[in-house]
Amino acid sequence: MRWLIRRVLKKGKNSISYEEDTHYGEMLTIGRASDQAIFLPDIRAALNHARVTSLGSGQYRVESLIIAGIRVNGEITYAITVGAGAVIEIGATRLTLIAAPQDHDAAVEVAAIDKGEQAFIIALRKKPTSLSQTWIGKRWPSWVGFVTVLAFGLLLPITSHFVPVVDTLLSHSPLPSTAAWETGELDAAHRHFGDDCKACHQNAFLMVRDTACTSCHANTKAHADPALFNISELGDARCGTCHKDHNGERGMVSTDQRLCSDCHADLTARTEGASQIVDISDFGDAHPQFHVNLPGWSADGEFTPKSLPWTAGLRENSGLKFNHLAHLKADGLNTPDGRKTLSCASCHTPEPGGAAMKPIAFESMCRECHQLGFDSLAPEREVPHADVAAVVYTLDEYYARRGLEGGYADARAPIVVQQRRRPGSPPLSRQEQVEALAWARDRAREAARTLFTGKACVTCHSVAPPGPANADWKIAPVRVSGIWYVEAHFTHARHETMACADCHGDAETSKASNDLLIPGIDNCRQCHGGATAQGKVASTCIACHDYHRSPVLTLDTGAKK
């Protein structure tokens, strides 16, 4: 086999000459030993470093004969089959296997690598020795992070705000929409439309408008009329000033005392005398005595309660006569059903809502003992607990019937009334009828007088007899306030852990019905204090009072009405 060995010789700067040699042999041996086909006087070459076999048709087999291997085409290898053009590097020598010329079977070009190139190759093969030479960087991850976060955190949600289609698409994808901006959990009541940010946040970069609130909260009462009261806070306050959402389930209603006290601490001065309300800033130490609503009637009999400051000796006038002490006897009362001991709950039962007590009802609470019978001959008959006319009417009807029927066993009655009619008896004569009805009218009047003045009505009611002013019996109106403190919302339900006597202790010893058994502020202050009270229930204004309380103004119609 004929090998062409072409040596490249550099002469001067840009001049190159070739020296060609022919080597006869099956393979081309390379090494530092003198018997090698290609002799490399380089300490980096082994004596018998490698051999190259021509496989024909331009293919060569390169094999390393030492444990260190050989660098072919830049890679260390032990044996490899390569085509023409492959480059073998040993020390400072570069061997290029080339296509065999016509008169040879194989060919190799041998060239020296000059020092500059060697250094370059070494530098090229050097592994990075600092992180700045590796693939990681600071600039490109910074850009990627910056752009990604800005795109997904800001631009995409903004787009979804302005383009509803994008919003719909995003809501069906895991990509962030404006929901990713939610600063905190919504109030429980707002969650049913919570996915739609624009329900409240209608305009970008503008605080939530009141109209967004009143579109649902249409009938919410205003607080006071800013046109009447010269307080800037009243006119400028937005719903959102107090109601800040995204603060969790119960974050929406602020119970902060300052919401009220900021204005009410010096309201008179603030409104330049327009407000008549006493300055209030704290329930514990800056709240006036309660004003209690006492029952009262106008001249024409209309119920017009009077609001008076609570005092210890204050009397009320409900029109009723009632002795609590007599009814609450510890050893009980004689009743038709035997002995019974009454308690508060025997008569005072809470309304379904639990706030106030049900009105006292004669039929269910009094009648068991206080029966309205009027005739000892018919003890089961009673007049209704109704107005005077109905009572009188019942009596008239009853005695008219008894008179005409006869058989009324009262010796004082006329014979015709006493006489029992038998079947087949002749009808009463005109004379007899007049006599019987005259008796009936008198008897009914007597029974009425007995009822009204004797044993029944007058027990509890003030009764005036018929006279020049009134043609009939007159019962004074009876009514308790029902709600004694109208400006506050007290509820018995929240005070169930207390005993009745804890607040209404006077009831146990009260003999007169005009004893005011409703406690004043001192009673409340035993347990309740202001916002910063120590050792007491911290009760801010909102605990008892409403902010949205105007009787005429609502928020949606505008406080400017």
Binding site: I67, K127, S130, F146, G153, E182, N247
Partner: protein
């Protein structure tokens, strides 16, 4: 006493940061917003403004440390302030949030901020610990000097090995090829020099050989082929002169190995001192985007 970045100017910025934290905490405790503490109260806005300003200022450090001509404080002073005020930022940002967290952009920004700060903590640790280790490891040489020495040893070892036997020459050649200092990120951080790690073990092998019977088979070692080859050679047909040269060669290679290890460790120390910045810097720029998103979105839906 040497003044470190932490004790710069009598720890001036430590006290500044502590004061900032104390004021913020006192305000937070004193402030009663009348609802859950949150970023939307006046104190929330105030703390948020302070925190945002701090973040921007902390990021300016990246510019400041490159502007060599500025006279606005020393870079070390800036770094000291950067560290302490950056740490104070944790508390200020948490107080700003009112400890309200959620799956949202805002908490994401907070998490990014914490990631930046904690990566910075590692940087402080690295800056305090590694320069000393680095100096000690180099033993007054430079990395280039060590690399030059390795190159010299390679040449001498080849010449020496050539005088012993062609196989040994081949083994040394391979060892040279295998010595690759540096590499990818992971390689740099792990301090693997890639040189024939078994060279040191050859002493043990030789020791063992002299302890066991002459002619006994060499102990099967788990080392690389270099040892096997060398020990085989010694066990088989080495004469005294060759043995002497072998020992010399082994000493030479051991020295090289020690040098290579030291260079690898030098690269490792440098890499550890730098690696955190590859998190710290991109995360802080990402944080800037999240911060912009946070501020804009909060006022977008005011």
């Amino acid at each position: 006493m040497h003044e470190s970045i932490l004790t710069h100017a009598r720890s001036r910025y430590l006290w500044v940061s502590l004061a900032l934290c104390a004021i913020s905490l006192a305000l937070y405790v004193w402030h009663d917003p009348g609802m859950t503490p949150n970023g939307g109260t006046w104190l929330g806005y105030t703390l948020g403004t302070v925190a945002a300003a701090l973040i921007v200022w902390l990021m300016l450090f990246g510019i400041r440390k490159r502007s060599y001509s500025t006279t606005l404080g020393s870079t070390r002073g800036w770094l000291s302030a950067h560290i302490y005020l950056g740490t104070a930022l944790i508390l200020i940002a948490l107080l700003h949030s009112g400890f309200q967290f959620g799956w949202n952009l805002h908490t994401f920004a907070l998490v990014l901020m914490l990631a930046v700060i904690f990566s910075g903590f590692f940087g402080v640790y690295a800056y305090l610990r590694y320069p000393t280790l680095m100096t000690r490891n180099r033993e007054n040489a430079t990395r280039d000097a060590m690399l030059d020495e390795i190159g010299e040893i390679d040449q001498n070892a080849l010449a020496l090995a050539d005088g012993i036997a062609p196989e040994i020459h081949g083994v040394v050649l391979r060892s040279i090829e295998n010595t690759k200092l540096g590499g990818g990120v992971w390689t740099q951080l792990r301090a693997r020099d890639g040189s024939d790690i078994a060279i040191a073990r050859i002493r043990a092998a030789l020791q063992q050989r002299s302890n066991t019977q002459i002619g006994a088979k060499p102990v099967a070692l788990q080392a690389g082929q270099t040892i096997v080859a060398m020990v085989d050679f010694l066990a088989g047909h080495a004469d005294d002169k060759q043995s002497e040269a072998m020992r010399k060669l082994i000493d030479m290679l051991s020295r090289k190995r020690a040098l290579a290890t030291r260079v690898a460790r030098d690269i490792q120390y440098q890499a550890v001192m730098e690696i955190w910045l590859y998190l710290h810097v991109p995360l802080s720029v990402t944080l800037l985007a999240a911060l912009i998103g946070h501020i804009v979105s909060v006022f977008f839906y005011w």
